[in-house]
């Protein structure tokens, strides 16, 4: 299939479409739910409560250090389920392909999705393919949806957040944003930064089994940590205060941010979560996180307060406090 390219005919629904589905998608994702190639996947679920999520991926470039659009689309769906405390089971995947994309690139993306799904124990059970004319897309857009199951118990929600709770972040922030941006703009760094793109459901499982007291979790993707903290503050009506010096940021990411005028607190992450936990559970949860490689650098970065209601504050590097606002506009476009 080398040197072959996607043609408009591959989206026609006819012979070429069928060939594409069998040779690329079915071959990579093969499972009992997808194999019949029905219009829908039919499956039983082992729990009465489901979590359901969807997201689209338009990252440019589609391959970047530490990942690609395929891995991103699978991990993204898994993480959106996981931070709600759900165990991810099934995914759908829709592909909008620009005419002219090479089969080689499409196969690489699809194989990366299959690998990520397999490693995470989830199945891609249904999907769709469309082809748009050259110039009307940008190589490849992917949309995934995911279904997960939830155990009994309270649904994690920012409305459970109370003053005195602690804020934990699962590791270094900003890696994904800087990795994609540096690769896209051709900026070479002495210490290359890779995207943190990773599935977080096992880390969440470890956290949930370590202790109760997890109020809410989110994966700080677009808009970064600052935006997630603002969402927590606004939904709970509580204040949130974090300490800039306690937020884990890699030296290389800090350096790139200094140079380019970005703020790591607003950079996208694809393998990190922020959790608000009851203070008496924090140490047990932190310990569980640190024994999972994806949470090895987890840290408590701040706490929930009464004041100011609905807003986030940051204690700056030099010890003064100021408001930490949501991201205004786009710091970096097309990052996920």
């Amino acid at each position: 299939m080398r040197d072959r390219q996607i043609l408009l005919g591959h989206g026609s629904g006819g012979k070429l479409s069928h060939m594409l589905i069998r040779e690329i998608f079915l071959k990579a994702f093969d499972n009992e739910f997808l194999a019949p190639l029905n219009d829908q996947a039919v499956f039983n679920v082992p729990a009465p409560r489901l979590a359901f999520t969807t997201d689209s991926y338009v990252v440019n470039p589609i391959f970047f250090p530490g990942g690609d659009i395929g891995k991103l689309s699978v991990c993204g769906a898994i993480n959106d389920l996981a931070v709600g405390g759900a165990e991810p089971l099934y995914l759908s995947a829709s592909f909008i392909i620009e005419e002219g994309l090479s089969f080689e690139e499409l196969e690489a993306v699809v194989s990366s999705m299959a690998k990520a799904a397999h490693a995470a124990g989830v199945k891609i059970v249904t999907g769709d393919t469309k082809v748009v004319e050259r110039g009307k897309g940008d190589k490849l857009f992917i949309s995934t949806a995911g279904i997960g199951v939830l155990k009994d118990g309270p649904v994690l929600s920012p409305s459970l957040i109370r003053p005195g709770d602690l804020i934990i972040v699962s590791g270094f922030i900003g890696d994904h944003g800087i990795a994609v941006m540096a690769h896209r703009e051709g900026i070479r760094m002495d210490v290359p930064v890779e995207s943190d793109c990773a599935p977080l459901h096992l880390l969440v499982k470890d956290m949930l089994s370590a202790a109760g007291g997890i109020r809410a979790m989110r994966d700080p993707t677009r808009g970064g940590l600052a935006t997630t903290l603002n969402e927590f503050a606004a939904s709970s009506g509580c204040g949130i205060v974090i300490r800039e010096n306690d937020v884990p940021v890699r030296e290389a990411v800090r350096g790139a941010c200094e140079l380019l005028g970005f703020d790591p607190l607003y950079l996208a992450n694809e393998g990190k979560l922020v959790a608000v936990v009851a203070s008496d559970s924090a140490q047990a949860i932190l310990k569980a996180m640190r024994s999972n490689p994806l949470g090895a650098d987890a840290a408590v970065i701040g706490e929930v307060t009464d004041e100011p209601p609905g807003r986030a504050l940051i204690e700056t590097a030099i010890g003064n406090k100021r408001i930490l606002d949501m991201l205004s506009g786009a710091q970096l476009p097309r990052i996920c």
């Binding site: 800090r254 350096g255 590097a317 030099i318 003064n320 406090k321 100021r322 408001i323 606002d325 205004s328």
Partner: protein, 365 residues
Amino acid sequence: MKYVDEFRNRDIAKGIIEKIHGVSRKPVNIMEICGSHTHSISKYGIRDALPRNIRLISGPGCPVCVTSAGDINRLIGFVRHEKDIILATFGDMMRVPGSGSSLEREKARGSDIRVVYSPADVLDIAASDPGREVVFSAVGFETTAPAVAATILMAQERGLKNISFLSLHKLTPPAMRALLDSGEVELDGFICPGHVTAVIGADAYRFISSEYHAPCVVAGFEPLDVLQGIYMLILQEEEGRSEIEIQYKRIVTWEGNRKARDIMDRVFETCDASWRGIGNIPMSGLTIRSAFGDLDAARRFSLPEGIDEETPGCSCGSLLKGLTAPNECPLFGKACTPEDPKGPCMVSSEGTCAAYYKYGEGAPQ
């Protein structure tokens, strides 16, 4: 991080803040000229850490912001009229509102307007599209002007025939003089811009201490630099001195960067320039010398006149003179936000309103 963390040390910051509180008695109005200083002051919460009798006033130090409404409208009219040209510009210029439009809107309407990160990028655009005229709208102070001058020399060296530059460059010391002469704003001293002074040298401010008896401290941009700069200035105020001092000694000298100044002098000469809010300031701009006339867009094209009118209700003009703080503008945070800016100070990353808004200053607590 080396060379950064040292200048954000919490204990030292606390020490300097205590020293400022210890010596400060008089009510003092300090203007920080540079937009990057404003940004640092907001980002590190420095304003709130100072004694109440010290007022920090942001000055006309954001190059995009001080570009007059007339010049913005002139650029808009230019791309509307010259449909085949490529206009290259720095990103912040795109969203500055003119009368009823902006470069961003003109781009959406079909004009070919490209954002560049470095003036040198313009050379590549011109070289790769030799059949089209490429015009770079050059804004910036003494920090950017040498780079643009170098680009003009490179364009000449490479024999590029389809490139020209519209110089909207401005000079800092004449604006400081104009503010002092106007008498509109009460100023007791200046925190002078670190990187501009790295080029022009701290001697350029001698007239401020000799003629106006106002102290000046050239400061760096890390929080400890800014705090130390404020401390040095307050000490001068309290001791009745009006001297020029350099806090940012690791970068700034008294004579400046001779090479950068030479290259600037070779390509540009001073001219009168129109500043947003302040109006015309004699000899405060840079125009391209006639020896480089072929590369001067102002000579090469007949540029339309631009109406010099502000957006109704926008306080950017009086803000750039230090008369209004962002949160005193009726539009701030309501009709005017970074998503939907009504004036340039909310657009540019160096703009005072953008800094106040981003870091929550003046927001309802």
